[in-house]
Amino acid sequence: MAEIRVQHLRKAFGDFVAVQDSNFVVEDGEFFVMLGPSGCGKTTTLRMIAGLELPTGGQILLDGEDVTMLRARERDIAFVFQLFALYPHMNVRKNIGFPLLAQGKPSAEIRTRVEETAKLLRIDHLLNKSVSGLAGGDRQRVALGRAIVRRPKCFLMDEPLGTLDTEFRDLMVHELRELHNRIHATTVYVTHDQMEAMSMADKIAVMNHGVIEQFGSPREIYDRPATVFVADFIGSPPMNFLKFGGGLAKGAREIVVQGATVAVPEVREDIAPADMALGIRPEHIRFDDASKLRGAIYGTEYLGTTQIVAVETADGIIKARVPAEIRLNAGDHVGLALNSARLSLFDRGSGRAVKTAIHDTASERRARHG
């Protein structure tokens, strides 16, 4: 297994820049997910790591070796495609053994390794079946088997669950993570589905317009979004934003939003007067009639244990996640109390998060680790 190091990676198709100046390190044995909307450059990045596209600039190091310009077959990586790319003219056994055939392995070894792999994925009973008759989940397992069987330096997966039914999808998310825990293979996984990313990843890179907006653990990305885009993209429903204006002084502990004073994590930098936004996760809102931040109930979505309540404020709709027991009627006026310790502040012009006390814990922890 290996470490993947991507440095200043860039890819342009004519005038269109698909990936600009990407930098990240996937450590040995890590499950790394590239997450972003379609067209954000995540698949292009993956294809460059695989050697299916050549970068316009930058470097890709696989285990310290510069592979930037090597052909795909010289890189010792495995790729799982969205459409699986199982060869319809071969049965399951031949599909899984296909990479070993390329390496010129003796047929006895191919046989044992294919059977081992099939057992690992619990598809050993399907080995002599044609791939065209398989169910979605089993096709996915065969595609994984073809990747695992050659014991490559790393696995690259391009939305491998994208075409599966929801039922299979949840099952495969679980299986993929379990498989990863067993074989500890460095994995780069591309998806636009935040549920998949959050539940499987050790590290996530959130991409937008060819730029990595944030790189970190799922928890970091959820709790401390680095940009407005990340805050808006991750979470369901996404983070709420309340606009406010003016500057911030280092050490400030409260801001004024819609005439209400809101306590925020201590600001760690000076910000010149600008258009700002206060970011609030729906679960960090409580109903409290004492609060000066007020709105009218617009509608509710009942989810069983919780409910999502849309509240119309002077600055648009705010969504709160509150216990399902609370009885609410449309049109009711409510006060909104915010969990001050968990709020984010953003500069609306640049989209960047303002450095506050919520970032302290991260750097402290990183310092302890380092």
């Binding site: 299916l52 052909r71 795909a72 077959r73 459409l83 790319a85």
Partner: protein, 316 residues
């Protein structure tokens, strides 16, 4: 329609199905009657073949086939009686008409020419077409659209329109009346069709298959051979039939450019008429045999042919 089954808006009704069936049967009959007539004529005796009114019921004879494969000379009855007993069925039949077999006719070599030229040019056209189609489908070819249009444009006029330049060119190059010349010519005509048809088929094969194979350690050529070709067999078969039908049936160029050693069956068969009266059974026999290879080939690959014809009409 019963109450329990929903009325479909797309499925044709029983009435229109019956009308469609009747039209198809009528068309099939109209198409097949000439073929049956030729087949029947090939088993008639020369007098029966020109009898008026035409004979539907007749005594079958293989005289036509005997005449097709042999050349004969007319002899006096005395000479024929002086010969030993007839050596075969054909010998016997021919002697009844005061003739003896002088030797084999040119039909067999001409038929072999047809086989070599038609299958040879089909192979070349499909081989070149597959590679070019793959190239156009997968690589960024400079001016790809213009090149494809140019390839297509070679079919804008009937090939025979360039007969005279080709005739002169072939005479200069020494390609006149050679199998190589005919294979080159038919390949040139067919390759445009092959490129266009096959490009469509190869476009339909997701490139992930080759990418997967290339990541798995194969070169591009190996990936092409092991993943693209097996999936393109339907398209290749359909294209091969179209190419073969053209090369097999082609008459004009064959008549113009071949006369002896490389002559194919289509220009040869009409020349039978002139030899010793209008020998229609022999012509019919030649035609019947001529139909066999293409018929067998088409029946063997009929599924692919059907897909080739309806190609592009329905997405998978």
């Amino acid at each position: 329609m019963s109450l329990t089954t929903a009325h479909s808006v797309v499925a044709p009704s029983a009435g229109s199905k019956r009308i469609a069936g009747a039209i198809i049967i009528a068309y099939a009959l109209i198409s097949i009657v000439p073929l049956l007539w030729i087949f029947a004529t090939s088993f008639k005796t020369p007098p029966d073949s020109i009898a008026y009114p035409p004979k539907i019921v007749f005594q079958p004879s293989i005289e036509g086939y005997c005449n097709l494969f042999t050349t004969r000379t007319r002899q006096t009855p005395e000479y024929i009686n002086s010969l030993g007993p007839a050596t075969g069925f054909c010998d016997e039949t021919v002697r009844k008409r005061n003739m003896v077999i002088a030797g084999p006719s040119n039909f067999l070599p001409r038929f072999l020419n047809s086989l070599i030229i038609a299958f040879g040019s089909t192979f070349c056209a499909v081989f070149l077409g597959t590679l070019s189609a793959y190239g156009f489908s997968r690589f960024k070819v400079p001016l790809a659209d213009d090149l494809l249009f140019f390839i297509l444009s070679t079919r804008f006029m009937p090939p025979i329109a360039v007969a005279i330049p080709i005739y002169l060119m072939y005479r200069e190059l020494g390609l006149s009346d050679t199998a190589l010349g005919m294979i080159l010519l038919y390949t040139a005509v067919n390759v445009s069709l092959a490129v266009w048809l096959l490009k469509g088929f190869i476009d339909e094969i997701p490139r992930e298959y080759e990418e997967a194979a290339m990541i798995d350690g194969y070169t591009r050529l190996q990936a092409f051979w092991r993943t693209v070709l097996p999936q393109a067999t339907t398209g290749i078969a359909a294209t091969a039939i179209f190419c073969l039908i053209f090369a097999w049936n082609e008459y004009a160029f064959a008549a113009l450019l071949t006369s002896g050693t490389a002559q194919t069956a289509p220009p040869f068969i009409p020349t039978i008429i002139g030899e010793g009266g209008q020998d229609w059974p022999a012509v019919a026999a030649g035609t019947t045999i001529f139909l066999v290879p293409i018929l067998v080939f088409t029946i063997l690959l009929r599924k692919q042919l059907l897909r080739g014809i309806t190609f592009g009409a329905v997405r998978k």
